[in-house]
Every structure is written in C-alpha cells, then in structure tokens.
Assembly symmetry: C2
Homo-oligomer: 370 residues x 2
Amino acid sequence: MKFICEKSKLQDAISIAQKAITGKSTMPILEGVYLNAKDSKLTLIGSDVDVSIETIIDSEVIEPGSIVVDAKIFGEIIRKLPNDLVTIETLGVEEGNNIIQITCKKSVFNLVHMNPSDFPELPAINETKLFSIPQNLLKNMIKGTSFAIAQDETRPILQGILFEVNNSYLNLVALDGYRLATRSELIDSENTISSVIPGKTLNEVAKILEDSEDVVDITFTTNHILFNLGETKVISRLLEGEFIKYKSLLPQEYKGLVTVNRQDLQNCIERASLMAKEGNTNLIKFELVGDTLIITSNSQLGKVREEVGVNLQGDEIQIAFNSRYLIDVLKVMDSDEVMLELTSSVSPCVIRSNETDNSKYLVLPVRLAR
Amino acid sequence: MKFICEKSKLQDAISIAQKAITGKSTMPILEGVYLNAKDSKLTLIGSDVDVSIETIIDSEVIEPGSIVVDAKIFGEIIRKLPNDLVTIETLGVEEGNNIIQITCKKSVFNLVHMNPSDFPELPAINETKLFSIPQNLLKNMIKGTSFAIAQDETRPILQGILFEVNNSYLNLVALDGYRLATRSELIDSENTISSVIPGKTLNEVAKILEDSEDVVDITFTTNHILFNLGETKVISRLLEGEFIKYKSLLPQEYKGLVTVNRQDLQNCIERASLMAKEGNTNLIKFELVGDTLIITSNSQLGKVREEVGVNLQGDEIQIAFNSRYLIDVLKVMDSDEVMLELTSSVSPCVIRSNETDNSKYLVLPVRLAR
C-alpha cells in the first residue's frame, strides 16, 4: 500500500473516525483505525461494538491496499506533522514485519500496523434513505434532548433517544425518572418508525454534524441506523426493547401559565442554587405572587431570595424543584421567552417556548415534607 | 458593617485575594476571605500559612467594620450577581448570629460569616522598597524559570526560586537534579540579596502581575518577601536553607555550538518524542552531521527520524536527552533562534538565546548504555 494525501485532510478524517473508538473494547484491533487506499480515495473506519464511523478523503493512490494502525499514536503523529503532503506506505519484510512508513518533508516515522483482516466488517445496510434532514437541525434536536438521557444503567432503554417518525414528523424523546425532553420537526417522510439510538452514539454524531443546511440522509434497518453525511457515514446499533409511552406522561392541561424571560429566570435559578448545594439536593422553591416569581432556597450556608418579573395567567402556585433539572432545560432552549405550565405543587411542570411548538420539556417537582 | 461597591470590582478583588487561599489548611478561618470596610475603602485579604494577599478597592462605607466569609461561596455569589452595585451588611442578632446580607437589585443572600478576630495578622514588614521592576518583566522571569523547580519534596529548598540581587542585577534561578533555568535583568539596586521564594507563591504572583510596564516594588525581610503592586500586596514566607551554588554548575566552555530556529527544533523534538513515550523515558538522540541535526527515537511502537537545518561551529557531537526537559526550555524562550552549547555526550548542554544574555538554561544529557 502506498498513498499520498494532504496532512490537514488526513488529520480531519482521523479525528472523525476516532469518534467511534472508545478505547474501552477488549479487542486490540478496535483501538486501531482502518485505512483503505483505492481508486484515488482513502477510506478511514473507526469502530467499537456499538458504532462504526467511515469517512472518505481524496488521495493519490500509488499502490492500493489496507492496514490498521493504532488510532491514538497515528492521530498524534499526523497532527504534529508540518502542513504538507504526507506519504504513507507499507515497508517490505526486510524492514521488519507489519511496518508502515509515514513521510512528510524531513520527518520519517516507522510504525507497527495491525492485520486489516482482523478488523470487523461494517454491518450490511441497504442504503435506501428513509428521510433527510438539515445537519444543523438534527444537531440542535440531539443537543436539545440528550441531556435528559438516564445516567444510571438500571433501564438500558432510557440510555438512548427515541427517534419516532410519524405523520411526517420526526420526534426525538429522552427521559429519565425526573424529566423528559422532546423535540419535533416536520420532515418529508410517509414512514412510521420507532427506534431507540444509544445516547453516546448520538453525542458523537452531534459532534460530526455541521452547522449547515446540508442534509444528512437517515436509513433504519431492524438493528441499525445509518447517518449518511456524504463523505462520512455513521452506523450505530439500535437499543433493544420498547421505549416508555411518553405521550401519556405529558399533561394535557394546566392551572397556571407563567411567561418569563429565559435568561433572567436561568440567572435567578443559578444564583438560588448556590445556596442549595448542601446535601446535594439542589432544592429551590418557587412562589408566584401576582406577576412576580419569588425563588428561595436555604441551607446551613445561609439563604437566598430572588425575584423575577413574569406574566401569570391563572393560579398562584407554589412548587419546589431540583434546580439542576430546570437549568438543564433552560440552557438548551433558544427562545428569549419561555412558558411554564403549572397545575399543583405535586404535578409535573411543562416548559416550552412561546415561539414555536418544537420543544417541550417536563420536569417533576420535589415534594416537600409537611 | 455596611458598604456598597461595584460588582465587577468586588469580583476582581475576590479573585486576587483567593489566590492565597489553598483550601488545604486545617484552620477553617483560612478558607475565608477577610473584608474590612473603612475610609471609603474595602480591604480584602486571603491567606494560608505561607502567603497572604491583600487588595484594596473603592467602596462607599456606610458603617465601618470587619468580617470573614467563606471565600468559595462568597466568590461564587458575587460572580453570579448582575453587573450593578452590591450592598453588604451585617445583620442584627434577631436575624441569627453572624449573618451578612448581600443585596444586588432583586437578589438577597443571607450568609454565615466567621469571626474576623480569628483571622491571622499579616506579618509586619517595614515597607522600605529594595528595588522596583516592571510587572511584565518580572512575570516573564518567573515564567522563564519556574518550570525547572523540583517537583519532589526531598530537597525543599529546590521547590523555590532563588532571587539573587548582586552588582545591580536581579537573577532568578530554579533547578532540579536534571535541569537549571536562570534569568537575569539589570535593576537599580546597590543591595546584595540571596533569598529563596516558594515556587507556588511565585506562580500565584505571576498570575496577579499585569502585562504592563507598571512597576512592582519588592521588599525583603529576614523571613518574608513583599511584592507591592499598589492596590495589591503579596507577602510570602521565604524558604529556609541555602540554595545550591548554581554558578559552578554552568560550564565555562564548549566544543560545539549549534544555532537553530527555535520553533523548528521544538516541532522536531515534539514529533520525535511521540515515539519516546514507551516506558516514560522520553529518550531522544541528537546526531550532528555538518549543518544537519538528526533527531531519532525508537520504542516498541516504532521509530522516528527528524532532520533540522542548523549552523554548527565546532565538533559533531552525539548526545541523548529526555525530550521533555528540552521542550520545557524551548517553550519559555522568546527568541526566533537559540544556541546549544555542547561538549560531549555526557556533559550538560547549555541553551541560550542568541539575541540577549538574559536567559541561560542547562539540561543534563541521558547517558546511553554501551
């Protein structure tokens, strides 16, 4: 194998393929990145058990072939090379077995490589796209829901995000026992799908997705999802099992509707939670008095009282929250104003934007001892 | 006590005083910042056993007084407040003992405070300045030497930097068993001083010093050094004991003089050391062949060969180094070109700038087994 390519392009490609390489596998081959040079293209693949990422760059291929090299050291070498053309070739047996040479200007590296036939094959996917969505929109939907993925491993299905396609809408839903996040966007698809994708895969996908309107094509099989970004493809295993019927968790009505500036509310909650760290409860109390929301918290350290002006329609409700759950929601919302739908001190609070219908968040209150 | 001051000024002042607060003390009072309001000024002091930092800001003092508050939570509260005037006052006993109230717009915090009489007094220092030096220059001298401070605790004196005033020069010197760094600048002082200041103090001082030509006045007593920056004063204990007679360690002559572009050399060494991490030895070899410096390294991972063009006067010497020690030196040097003075494969290498005489670095080679 021998090929020549630009250092910067190779560096970017390694960084993409590496996102699949967790280093936690027990198979040493999965710490490697697979390189295939053929037909003026260099294909790089990184993989662990759950997810594989393939990316393709232009390359001058002098002798086609495949190798697998340790992704970490290979990535570090390429990153440190000067910004010039890089030549990579396998050496003959007289130089020792399984050696590649990396040359760039006056730098020459000899590096051990692994056997490419040991590298797992990508799952076969019949690439009929089911729907397309702009990359920036999907990225936003993932970021807007992934914070609510369950962190504990007792219910594995909740460590993923539900991708639900229904009536020309794509809904992303994540929930743990305390909050729920859902984002919904219109797409051009007549299909009906309900699949759960591991959260860690989606966090890596979000890093690869660009802030552009270029689309990503999405294909599902029984066991896998394929994100096709053109030069880059991400294939992930789906989570097995059925997701919680989340729609029944969302209240259909409310007794008090609070409209408030999002940043003001977030600032007040963040300050109030400084006093709520004692015992790691993050407990803060909301009290509505006319068009004022009073937020209080106290602990051994002292106490705090915050006031923020709101528009209240309906009941003056008192309710307590874990401040972290509210901050997580407010951070991922984009709108200047947010609306809180409240019913009682023991009913879930629904938070949504007043501008669009695309985000809906639910946070459970903390029941206070009487 | 009651005073009013600007949030941003108070925040900056806390951040300065906090640099003395390590949180490692067994005395809870030393986790606090001392506040004194008097004569339109607010004085803040942070302290641990070795170092104290005092800083003064303008304040509207309504009722003079002193308190000590937990520096971490107080700093967090002030940082999160809106950018406006902050009022801080002690409350009467009916609100509970030892409570201060912090008010800013619609935010009200009640916070426990500690007894200011428990806070240690600053060491008395007769403030006759011994010499002055521009802040940016001293900052640079500290950064140019502190990397060579010994990390192990077997010789405590080497955990400090020698401040030597002699013949109108200020010399800063740090060394461990493997390398030595010295920076020297002309100052206006007829005194002769030789004192060793703890490295961790100086790292905090370097953070407080500004990138400006404004001077810092320096005063020594038998046991302390005082850095006076005007609004801010840093007082540090000196290290006890005698510093190593470093001048005898610096070779007076050499057999080969290598002049090389600093960044080129650093890049080559950084690449070569990628292959030198095996067993954590960082071993790289230098070979001079005419006007070429060949740098090689190898390990179980593979091997690397780098070439960099140099100007060589004298002998073609071969020598091996721990790459980290060379990189540390090259990183803190400012000049485009550096000079390496070499004598043999077992003699120390002296690295200096070709433009000024103010920096001199010494790195011991690694002796290779034959």
